[in-house]
């Protein structure tokens, strides 16, 4: 009998993680959703950000058992059928990323923020992303990607 049940990317998933196992490790190891990356495991870099019940959370700071009953979206579930959604497409168009390691967390953070603040300006976007560290880009291309996505969403 599994100990926890949760919804991940729209599907019910169950498991029996050790009490000490983080949500990030559960997603990566038990569910093989390796898109979620671990960059610091102490809640600073944001690479492990997933959307849980509509909010961006750091899956390295949360235990898997705490996520029981929750609705989790990871980078694999952001777009339709694993394809790129609007935000990812805009980031591709904007050459947002280089090495790609911070990308899942950055994208999930931006997705959660944009859904709540579709009219955000550049400074608000920078503040919203300031808890996610990218070592490659200097952020401008990422910010441009989020701005482009916001513009396209507003135009629709």
């Amino acid at each position: 009998m599994p100990d926890i049940s949760l919804t991940v990317n729209g599907a019910t998933r169950t498991g029996s993680p050790e009490a000490r196992k983080t949500l990030a490790d559960f997603l990566r190891d038990d569910l093989s959703l390796t898109g979620t990356h671990l960059g610091c495991e102490h809640g600073v870099c944001g690479a492990c950000t997933v959307i849980l019940d509509g909010r961006a959370v750091r899956s390295c700071l949360m235990l898997a058992v705490q996520a029981a009953g929750s609705d989790v979206t990871t980078i694999e579930g952001l777009g339709p059928d694993g394809e790129m959604g609007d935000l990812q497409q805009a980031m591709w168009d904007s050459h947002s990323f280089q090495c790609g390691f911070c990308t899942p967390g950055m994208v999930m953070q931006a997705a959660a923020f944009l859904s709540a603040h579709p009219d955000a300006d550049e400074q608000q976007i920078r503040e919203a992303l300031s808890g996610n560290i990218c070592r490659c880009t200097g952020y401008q291309s990422i910010v441009d990607g989020v701005l482009l996505a916001a513009e396209r969403i507003r135009e629709r």
Binding site: H37, C40, E41, G82, H95, Q98, G100, I133
Partner: protein, 782 residues
Amino acid sequence: MTAIAAERYTGASIKRSEDPRILTGAGRYVDDIKLPGMLHAAFVRSPMAHARVLSVDVSAARELPGVVAAYTGAELEAMTVPGPDALMALMGWQGPTPEFTLLATDKVRFAGDPVAIVIAESRYLAEDGCELVAVDYDDLPPVVNAAFALDPASPPLFANLGNNIASPQTRHEFGDVAATFAGADRVYDFHVDVHRHQNVPMEGRACVASYDAGTGAMTVYAATQSVHVSKVAVAMRLGMEQDKVRVLAGDIGGSFGLKIGASREELAAAAASRDLGRPVKWVEDRGENLTTSGQAREESFDVRAAVSKDGGLLGLDVKMVIDTGAYPGMGAMVPSIVEAMFPGPYRMTALGFESTAAITCKATYVAYRGPWASETFVRERIIDLIAKDLGLDPFEMRLHNAAVITDPPAVMVTGRPLVGVTTKESLERIAQLVDFPAFRRRQAEGRERGVYLGIGVATFIEAAPGPREPGEPSGPMSLETMRLRLEEDGIVVLFTGQMPHGQSHQTTLAQIAADEFGVPFEQVRVVVGDSDVVPFGLTGGSRSATMTGGVALHGARQLKARVIDVASHLMEASSQDLEITDGQVFVRGDPASGIPVGEVARRAASGEFGAEVDASLEIVATFDGGEGGWSGGSHCAIVEVDAETGIVKVERYVVTEDCGALINPAVVEGQIRGGVAQGIGAVLLERSAYDEDGNCQSATFMDYLLPTACDVPRIEIEHLETVPLDADVNFRGVGEGGMIVAPPTLVNAIEDALSPFGARIYEQHLPPARILELIAEADTIV
């Protein structure tokens, strides 16, 4: 036929072919790999900076359910080959060579030195096992800085050296140093420090080593800048034949110089895999990354400058000391590059240079984006200091001293010709983009209100690849090799030893080959990351734009000639009359004649043309860099310093950069911005800090601060593409320049902002507390 004229990809910001996988979570980094029976490694690390290891007891760890094995340093030593740093050995280092084991045996040499490895069914269990390992240490005096390391009384870290010198003091003179100083109007003395900071890729070091006892072959999935350098290191330290080692790499989460070859921990994991006959994964956590993976810079300079009263920089005399940390490798080799580059783009006629590399109880010095960058920092810093003392504008002093394009070109006093260097042009363009007089007015108005604005400019050149020297048979960098093949489905495959970790090679090399060969971009595949398949190569030193871009161009040209030759038999036309456009071979001027290149490949493979036609559509190309050339540029920062809090805000940042012809402008600009962001971090935030006992004080992201989206401004970039030197290949490297020149640009701006306080700055790290000290030291408003 509609479009016979090919689209030109080179020079356009083609969207990256890497991105669809990266943006959907489908990238494959080392930690994403799961092999059947895979085990996990964790290390027991020294809490002491320097100590004798009296005993290591792993027995309790071995008893823990889930732990499969635990090895002490001595046990691992028996399974491997002790020796020097593999990269030093590969580069033919001739100086002092400390010999060491993968895990510490008799003593530990820095806080974090690995003393035991525990292998378990999960990383959680491996770390549980580490908790049960008992190590008995006996303190030794920690060698915490270069000054103590160079004191003959300091206890040697390595018995086979007898002292703590990784590279003994050497002195070289270029030009007539004594006469230049004797004839100078003014002689200045400065002491300039650069602090220890580090690469911090978002993915740390990582590997999965998998030994097959049946075949005696080792496969290592690695995060590395070169699968071949990693392969050599594994073979060397595990005592294996090189052909029995295969290194594979997929996506890599950044490196910036850190991941060249295989580290001690990766080699230890490989040794454990061989012993156990099961795959072993090791992924370093952030604490390990910050305290043990490697650190860079920490160099000090005593500089004398000979100057004429009109601001002519006549010559320099430099003493450099570098802190190489505990297991020296790259750090011992960097001073020679610093020496060669010290004159920069300036016409000085004398340089004296001496350097010493010291071994200390800190994490090992590693290459970090422009490892020799301190020459630019020191030179660009002292130009501002000298100009201020002479009452000159530092910007004008740079222009006054910069070599201009002449025929024959000016030559650096250390030997290299400054051919095609556009320092003057890049500075002048900065002045056009940034209205200096308007800024000075705004600055003056601000000061009246207690708002301290400052402006700083700095300039640099980078040998990426450097110029071909007159009469030299070979180019400035070692040969680059590429294998190219036309597949029967028409795909052009490039096999390269470049190992991209953010540089977008799978896009940029395909752009070049697609244009040269005449196929759509999507019809070119770039294969990387398999030592059994790709030629020797290394991503580093900003070499790939020229060297790999060049070999992609020439290789595609050679392959195209081969295809056209085969097609001439097929189409019964002369080779001279054939061309390849949009993936088809045409008789020139006859749009109806097109045959897909895949069809040519299929017919070639059929053997129908007989032995007299060379129908093999696979070639190996090499490129020596052609005429080479310099990268370079000038940067300008405008900052605001809050005199109450010491916080520095970068208000505007302007770059004029000359990297020759651009392959993909968006990729180039990403490299520049990323480098500038790291420079901002280095000056305002980042420091690898140690206390007086040698404890690392920056082991988390709460202590080692990285720039965020709120710290890095929009960076304005303008490209200069002024001087083509080569008939075909004028792409030049751009990976390191941003990080090389941003620190002096920012520090120059900060000193300018603090000029009402009379502050003079001789260091690179300026966090808020230090800014407040500088203001307090200056004491009175000038």
